[in-house]
């Protein structure tokens, strides 16, 4: 498994200082394709971190209880559970493989001792229950210690089985399988604030599910044109509002966000609000649409704002203002002049995620070459950090990096060119506790 884990904590005043807490995964450069992490997500309390990979596996890390004798040590994360969530499948009708790669993981709010999460690949969503077992019953009447059935006629006395402690065993079991509701590839799942329903979005449709019901889902958005040849726009991400269980948003490949209210109609094809920034005609190019395509949308914890990530920037929107974002932060503006090359090597289609911190005071997103960018909304300062395991020792502070275009020399400009397969900090999740 390849990946890196980091932790941030405020240190002195309101400045964020970042350092590596732990690095999980393979050290060497050659990583198997199946081990590449495709999604990460902290749970609500921050005690558990789930990762999904291209091989369909989910690995959950748990934060160790902080030792009272070392109150300043940051809790370390260790492997808690590993299970195979999805297997590759073959669609016989289309003669196409369905990848087992985990596209998204979302935790459910914890309601009892067990933990629940939703994991999805391109076509099927599964609800997994992760529970602990640390006791074992011994002294059964009808069977031996090794499990063989005892002859009932030989039992002369009855005893009450007693519970004995055992080594902690963490079991993951699939509780629900939500299948066959998506023709296109699922890109998002989002648990509703009512804790009973969730949505799943593919390229053209969004479905609403009840967590208890697997054989039926309701279609709430359908942007498939009657004639597929007229298709010019797809859904790229969707999320439920954190507090209003009737509100959700979805973003598109044309850089628009639509907010829908499920109370207004059964099929939310007509949006309640439409967010789009007017295009700057002076910077229009053949790549304008591609770089405006939104790769991620996230509500703030307060529910007042939402953040969108397109290829070159992150934008913060006030839900009360549809005409333009209230903040725009450039992530890697130096790439704007290289768009054609990025188009050629397909990097322009990379989908970056973004996230809010717990207090909504800062936002973070990734970039190329293991850089990630953090924007402090209060101080209006931003910092670029490199999440590279070679350059950082555990617990050493990450030094801010400057990105610069190398000056043109006599022979011609040499510039920083993200290559396919180069390390990309695509995935982010911020522990909110």
């Amino acid at each position: 498994m390849a990946g890196a884990g980091g932790g941030g904590c405020p240190a002195g005043g309101n400045d964020f200082q970042w350092c590596f807490s732990q690095v999980k995964g393979a050290i060497d450069e050659d990583v198997a394709e199946a081990d590449i992490i495709s999604t990460v997500e902290f749970n609500y309390s921050g005690d558990l971190l789930a990762t999904g990979d291209k091989g369909g596996r989910v690995v959950i890390f748990q934060r160790e209880q902080e030792n009272k004798s070392r109150p300043h040590s940051r809790g370390e994360y260790n492997v808690y559970s590993t299970f195979q969530s999805h297997e590759p499948e073959f669609d016989y009708l289309k003669s196409l493989e369905i990848e087992e790669k985990i596209n998204k993981i979302r935790w459910l709010p914890q309601q009892n001792a067990a933990h629940f999460l939703l994991s999805t690949n391109d076509k099927t969503i599964k609800l997994w229950k992760i529970s602990e077992r640390d006791k074992r019953a011994e002294g059964y009447n009808l069977k031996d210690e090794d499990g063989r059935l005892r002859d009932p006629f030989r039992i002369t006395a009855l005893r009450v089985p007693i519970l004995k402690p055992m080594d902690l065993m963490v079991e993951a079991s699939p509780r629900r399988i939500f299948a066959n509701a998506h023709t296109y590839h699922i890109n998002s799942i989002s648990v509703n604030s009512d804790h009973e329903t969730y949505l799943s979005a593919d390229d053209l449709r969004i479905n609403l599910w009840h967590l208890e019901i697997t054989d039926r889902s309701f279609n709430i958005v359908d942007i498939k044109p009657a004639n597929m040849e007229e298709l010019t726009e797809v859904i790229t991400a969707a999320e439920f509002h954190p507090h209003q269980c009737n509100v959700f948003v979805y973003s598109s490949s044309k850089g628009t966000i639509r907010l829908c209210d499920m109370r207004s109609s059964a099929l939310c094809d007509r949006h309640s609000k439409f967010f789009e920034e007017p295009e700057d005609p002076s910077s229009r190019s053949f790549f304008s649409e591609i770089i405006s395509s939104i790769s991620d949308v996230k509500f703030s914890h307060s529910g007042r704002y939402m953040m969108t990530r397109d290829y070159l920037s992150v934008k913060v929107w006030d839900l009360n203002m549809e005409s333009r974002p209230v903040e725009t932060h450039q992530v890697h503006e130096y790439l704007r002049s290289k768009l054609c090359s990025l188009y050629e090597n397909d990097c322009i289609f990379d989908k970056f995620e973004c996230c809010w911190n717990g207090s909504d005071s800062a936002i973070m997103t990734g970039s190329y070459n293991n850089f990630f960018r953090m924007f402090d909304r209060d101080t209006r300062r931003d910092v670029t950090l490199e999440a590279s395991r070679e350059s950082s020792k555990p617990r050493a502070s990450l030094k801010p990096r400057k990105t610069q275009e190398k000056a043109a020399s006599a022979g011609g400009p040499v510039w920083f060119r993200p290559r396919r397969g180069a390390r990309q900090a695509l995935l982010l999740t911020w522990r909110c506790s």
């Binding site: 023709t183 390229d203 359908d222 498939k224 009657a226 007229e230 059964a266 649409e289």
Partner: protein, 241 residues
């Protein structure tokens, strides 16, 4: 178009004919590089990973880019559509088959709306939610087969134009392309400068779809030399004035 504006300004100064020629070279260079972008986009559309379904978002974005280029080239009058019957049969067949493979990802459910979704939409009260039962889920197998069997009958406007694009692409043989590019001594990365900095100034008018694509008359020589031919022609006019 930005480059055209440059041309007109230079024409006013007679001592600046060199500037005019440089401007023309920029025009020609832009056209070549735009053509290169178009070719690249078509290759991307054709190269689908056929074991796994291609990414629909990526395909849509590339197709929209192709459409933009097409529209601009139509406005410039540089778009030449070779009449279908003039195209060689063999390469057309080859291209059509890869086109179908890419189209298949879009069109698997194209003809028939998925069960339950198309019929019972209402804008009424919440109780009218339309369920998608997974019992009905196995999609119409016939539509998939139908798409594969009858490609030519089902060509919409988009695919007609895609075919025209493919034919144009096919008529330019590789050696021809190299000759064109040998004049362009700027390194490859200039493609970025040219294409990201400028785009056809006039926004395309209300999109009539690709039905409105009027085939331009073919150039006097074979199309792969036509760009240079046009350049000479324009230079002649300028020099005369």
């Amino acid at each position: 178009m930005f480059a055209r504006g440059l041309k007109r300004k230079c024409v006013g100064h007679e001592e600046d004919v060199e500037g005019a020629l440089a401007g023309l070279k920029t025009v020609s260079s832009y056209s070549l590089q735009r053509q290169s972008l178009l070719d690249m986009s078509l290759v991307k559309l054709q190269l689908c990973h056929m074991l796994v379904e291609p990414n629909l978002c990526r395909s849509v974005l590339i197709a929209n880019t192709v459409r933009q280029i097409q529209e601009e080239m139509t406005q410039d009058g540089t778009w030449r559509a070779v009449a279908p019957q003039a195209a060689e049969r063999a390469p057309l067949d080859r291209l059509v088959s890869t086109e179908i493979l890419c189209r298949a990802a879009w069109e698997q459910e194209g003809a028939h709306p998925a069960s339950g979704l198309g019929d019972s939409h209402t804008q009424g009260p919440v109780s009218d939610l339309c369920p998608v039962t997974s019992a009905q889920a196995p999609r119409h197998p016939q539509s998939g087969a139908w798409e594969m069997d009858g490609p030519r009958e089902n060509r919409g406007s988009f695919h007609k134009s895609l075919d025209q694009i493919f034919e144009t692409l096919e008529t330019k043989n590789p050696s021809c392309m190299e000759e064109l590019f040998s004049d362009v001594d700027s390194p490859y990365y200039d493609l970025d400068t040219v294409l990201t900095g400028m785009m056809g100034g006039a926004r395309p008018g209300p999109c009539e779809g690709l039905d409105g694509l009027a085939p331009a008359t073919p150039g006097p020589s074979s199309s792969c030399k036509s760009d240079l031919g046009e350049l000479d022609h324009v230079v002649e006019i300028l020099v005369e004035t």
